[in-house]
Amino acid sequence: MDELNFEGYTCPVPIRPTDTVMLGHGSGGSLSRDLRDQLFLPELGKAAPRLLDDSAVLTIEGQRFALTTDSHVVSPLFFPGGDIGRLAICGTVNDLAMVGALPAALTCGFVIEEGLSFDLLQRVVASIKNAAQEAGVYIAAGDTKVVQKGGADQLFINTSGMGRIPEGVNISGVNAKAGDVIIVSGTIGDHGIAVLSAREDLGFETKLESDVAPLNHLVQAMIGAGDVHVLRDPTRGGLATSLVEISEQSNVTIEVNEQALPVKPAVKAACEMLGFDPLYIANEGKLVAFVKESDAAKILGMMKKTKYGEDAVLIGKVIGSGKPQVRLKTAIGGTRLVDMLPGEMLPRIC
C-alpha cells in the first residue's frame, strides 16, 4: 500500500446555526435552553435564567402564589400506564408542587385536529377528571380550538395552574447547599421507555408502564418531615438534565452514585438495546429532592410511606460549592461528568 500522508486532512467547515426551529429545540436539553435564554427571555423575561424554576412565584398582597403552564403533545395519545389527559394534569400539578405550592386550580386548553373521534376525546376527558380528583385540583376554565386535518397531530392540551405557597416554605433550584443529600422518589426512565415501546415501529414489547402521577401529596409529606431545599420533576431531558440545571442554578458540585440509581430491568434492557442512557429518559411521576443532611433520613422514611415515593432512595450529595458540575461515581469505581442532552436523543448505529 502507498504511504498515506495524513498531514493536512481535516474535517468540514463549521455548520452554521440553523435559521429554523428544530425538533431538538423541544427536547428539554441545551437546545431548549438556548431557545429560552436567547430568544424568549431577552424579549419577554424579567428574571435571570438561573432563577427560573418549574413554576413562577408571585407575591400578591403579601401572599405567595405559584403560576405555571405546560403544553402536552404525545404520540400515541394513549400509552401503557397513562394518556395525554393524565399527563396534562400531572405535568402542571407537579410543576406547582416543585416550588412547594398547594395546587388549587388549573385551566385546560384543547387544540383538536378535525376528525378526532368523540369516543377518544371522551376517554381523555374522563382521564383528566380522574387525575384532577386524585391531585385534589379542579379545572377552573377551559378553551377549545379545532384545526383542519393536518394542522395538528390529533390532540394537543395546554394546562396552566396556580397554587398557594404556605408560609415558611422556600423551595427553589437556587437553594442547594454543600452537604445537601439528594433523593430520587423512585425508578427513573419508566415514562420515556413506556411511550417509546408503544410506538408501533419500534418492534419491542414490554410490560413497562408510564409513571405519570401527581406528586403534590408526596411533596407535602416531605415538607412536613424536614427541610427541603430543592425539588424538581425530571421530565424531558431526564434526571441528568435536572441535576445539571440545579448545579448551575445553585453553583454547586453534585456527586451521584451510579449504583444507587434505581432503574427497572426493563428500562435498563431497552436502553442497552437502543443505546440510550436512563439518566436522560423522561419521567412524569418522579421527583429529585435536595434536602438538609440531618433531615434526610426522616424525609426519606416519610416518602417511603407514600404511594408515589415507596421506592425513594438516596442517590448522592452536594460535595462543594463554587463550581457547577455533576459528577457520577460509576458502578465500577470510576468518575465521570454528567452533561445535559444537546438536542434530540438519537439511537446509535451499532
Binding site: L4, T10, C11, P12, T20, I349
Partner: protein, 365 residues
C-alpha cells in the same frame, strides 16, 4: 442483568486493574479501534483508572465520524427532493454536511425517518409505492450484512422504489493505513469485537506479523476492555505480536458465515474515502454489479457532488490517534455537541463527544 452485570463487576474490574499494573513496566500506546469502546472507557470512567504507563488513543471505528462529507451532502441532496422518504440510523441526522445537516432538511419539510433496522426501510417502501425510499447504508462490517439483507429482500420482493446510499467501510485496511503511516504512534490494537463477531479475526494474524503489533479482539464492557488491555500489555512486555481473541463469548476465528455470505452477495470491496483521513485502497464496500439498480447515487444523479474538506478541525489527527480531543483549539469552545465542527463531536461514539461529555473537568479544571 445477565451478560451485563458480570462484565461490570467492580471486584473483577479491581483485580484486573491490579493485574495490569503488575504486568506493565514501560510506556505503551494502545488504540481501541471502535468508537463504542472509546465511549465505554469514558462512560465508566475506566480510562482514568488505568496505570499511567498506558496511553489510550482512539481509533477511527466510528461509522458516523468517518462517513465522508460528500456522502452527507449527497444524502442531503437526495433527502431534499420531493417524493423521497429518506431513512437513516438516528445519529447520522446530526452530522454536518458542508451547508446543513439532515435535521435541517427535516425542519424544512423533508420526509426523513429514523429506522432501527434497514428492513424497516424496505417495509416503508412497500407501504409507499408512490414514493422513492432511500436508506443511508453506512457503517462497518457490523451493519453491512443487515443492509445487504435489506437489498436482497427488496430484490426478492421486486420492490422498485427502494434504493441505498452506500458508504460502508472495512476495518482491516484502516488499521494497515494507520500502521503504515510514518507518524504512527500505535503499538497495539484492541480490535473491535462486534466487527469480529461478523468477520472473524482471520484477517488479523498477517497484520500483527507484518507490523509487529499485538491485536487483541476485545468486547465492550469494562471487564472485556480490561481483559483486552491486559492481553495487549502482556504481549507488548514480552515482545510478542500476535492476534488474540479476548471476546470468545461472541467471536470465532471464522466469524459469522451467513452474515458474510449476505454481505458478499450484495457488496464488493472498493476504494473508499474516510472523512478526515482520505482515500484508503480497498477499504470499503460498494454494491456489486448485480445490484447497481439499487444504487441511490445513480438513481438520483448525485454522483458528481464532491465536497472539499476545509482545514478548521483536526478530526483526521484525532481519528488516527495522533492527537487528543482537548489538543484541538476549537474543542469545547467553537465545537460542542450542539454545534459540532466535525463528526467526532457528533456521534455518541465520537472521541470528541465522549471527551466533551465525560471529561471536560480534565481540561477546564
Amino acid at each position: 442483568m445477565k451478560y451485563l452485570d458480570e462484565y461490570r463487576d467492580p471486584a473483577k474490574v479491581k483485580s484486573l486493574l491490579r493485574e495490569i499494573e503488575a504486568a506493565v513496566t514501560k510506556n505503551w500506546v494502545i488504540m481501541e479501534i471502535c468508537g463504542g469502546q472509546t465511549h465505554a472507557f469514558l462512560h465508566h470512567g475506566l480510562d482514568a483508572m488505568l496505570p499511567p504507563q498506558i496511553e489510550l488513543v482512539h481509533g477511527p471505528g466510528c461509522p458516523v465520524c468517518v462517513t465522508p462529507l460528500e456522502q452527507i451532502d449527497r444524502a442531503i441532496a437526495i433527502a431534499s427532493q420531493p417524493g423521497v422518504i429518506f431513512t437513516s440510523y438516528g445519529d447520522m441526522l446530526r452530522v454536518p454536511g458542508s451547508m446543513k445537516d439532515l435535521f435541517a432538511v427535516r425542519a424544512q419539510g423533508g420526509d426523513i425517518r429514523v429506522v432501527y433496522s434497514p428492513l424497516e426501510a424496505v417495509q416503508i417502501a412497500e407501504a409507499n409505492p408512490e414514493k422513492q425510499v432511500v436508506f443511508f447504508a453506512i457503517g462497518f462490517e457490523t451493519t453491512a450484512p443487515a443492509n445487504a439483507m435489506a437489498v436482497l429482500q427488496a430484490k426478492h420482493k421486486n420492490i422498485k422504489n427502494f434504493s441505498v446510499l452506500v458508504s460502508h467501510v472495512r476495518v482491516p485496511p484502516a488499521m494497515e493505513a494507520i500502521l503504515a503511516s510514518t507518524s504512527n504512534r500505535v503499538q497495539a490494537f484492541l480490535a473491535a469485537g462486534h466487527v469480529c463477531a461478523v468477520m472473524g479475526f482471520h484477517e488479523y494474524p498477517p497484520i500483527a506479523e507484518k507490523y509487529r503489533v499485538p491485536i487483541v479482539v476485545t468486547g465492550f464492557e469494562p471487564v472485556d476492555l480490561l481483559n483486552g488491555l491486559l492481553a495487549a500489555v502482556r504481549q507488548l512486555e514480552s515482545g510478542r505480536a500476535s492476534a488474540e481473541n479476548q471476546y470468545q463469548r461472541a467471536v470465532r476465528l471464522e466469524g459469522n458465515g451467513s452474515a458474510q455470505r449476505a454481505l458478499r452477495s450484495v457488496f464488493v470491496p472498493m476504494d473508499r474515502k474516510w472523512r478526515g483521513i482520505g482515500v484508503i485502497p480497498q477499504s470499503g464496500w460498494g454494491l456489486s454489479p448485480d445490484f447497481q439498480g439499487f444504487d441511490a447515487e445513480k438513481r438520483f444523479d448525485v454522483e458528481n457532488i464532491f465536497t472539499q474538506e476545509s482545514t478548521l478541525c483536526i478530526a483526521g489527527e484525532i481519528l488516527q490517534g495522533l492527537k487528543k480531543p482537548f489538543q484541538c483549539a476549537a474543542f469545547g469552545k467553537a465545537c460542542k455537541p450542539g454545534a459540532p465542527l466535525g463528526a467526532p463531536m457528533v456521534s455518541s461514539e465520537g472521541a470528541c463527544a465522549a471527551y466533551y461529555k465525560y471529561h471536560r473537568d480534565v481540561i477546564y479544571g
